[in-house]
Symmetry: C2
Subunit: 210 residues, 2 copies
Amino acid sequence: MERIPPPVVKRFSYYLSCVDECVEEGKDWISSRDIAESIGITTSTVRYDISFLDVDGTRNGYRAVTLREALSKALGLDKGRKVVIVGAGNLGRALAQHEEFEECGFHICGIFDIDPSLVGKKVGRLKVRSMKSISAFLRKERPDIGVIAVPAESAQEAADILVEHGIGGILNMASTHIITPPTVPVVHARIVASMRELSCAIRLQRTEES
Amino acid sequence: MERIPPPVVKRFSYYLSCVDECVEEGKDWISSRDIAESIGITTSTVRYDISFLDVDGTRNGYRAVTLREALSKALGLDKGRKVVIVGAGNLGRALAQHEEFEECGFHICGIFDIDPSLVGKKVGRLKVRSMKSISAFLRKERPDIGVIAVPAESAQEAADILVEHGIGGILNMASTHIITPPTVPVVHARIVASMRELSCAIRLQRTEES
């Protein structure tokens, strides 16, 4: 696969959600303009990005199912991904039961916690397992993605265990940065960072109005 | 306040987390290099971004507490933000109890759901309220931020109610795009999008290795 620049990759994940919606609504075609307007970027950016895919546009735009397939493939979603969640607090439990994950090809195969009072509890179709058993689990199941949903002070330790057992990449939901070798990509999905970004946007908006 | 470009704002929220950590560790000074390395961007980007703030650098870098204050102010966090959550499913409940929010100046003032079986249930120090009472609540409490944690098909309706009652901005956790007037900023905090981004990074990594 051609090396796709990271910002393009990031946008692809948004395009895919947009194309998903179109297909659900029964639309056969989607234009770069449809995508651009739904996300709030320019049509030329959308066209540039899609040029990395092996997809032909027509006068009607792109065939929705074809574009969806190409985006899924570019995002490595065509084969599905096995996901393990570390941390069974509120956030971990919410993630384990987040229906959208399964729909999008992310199969949660296990959820772990260090707290004995949580171990054994049902979370959807899974049971919380003890951190003592995570090494054996990782060796056997070999998940692609590890989600870190533990307090900040335990995040690096959780990451180290995942890396040691050959995890493909980490989604970090903890409120701290974690360090991994360059071969193990990390995406920080920090909700507070989104809140802060929004907070500043509100401030700028109010400054303009006043 | 000078108009700060949105990508800079987004980075500020990451800088703030990084500076927070330094202060917690008892460090007095932080350099643009410290920030750059912790986030994985160039020092020149960090210096450019910080030039939007009224902060002087020295040979030792920036005084951590001063930088933290300036970043908080730029992000509109110095006064605190009132937050209302729409949707008391797993995700909504997790967010309502997410301790980091309070620590960072986001005060959750209410959580609402349409499901009568959830109304009245305790979520941390709050009780889930009925959507029937949200209009009166919004008029009285006037929250700054609305968090949408409802299923995709109800997200736009939830956004419309918030906008109608003068919400400052929306954090959208739902798996769909929502439309608001240009005066109401929206940040999409879609976890599946982060998963997809990570998935592609893993794919690219494995392509390089093979």
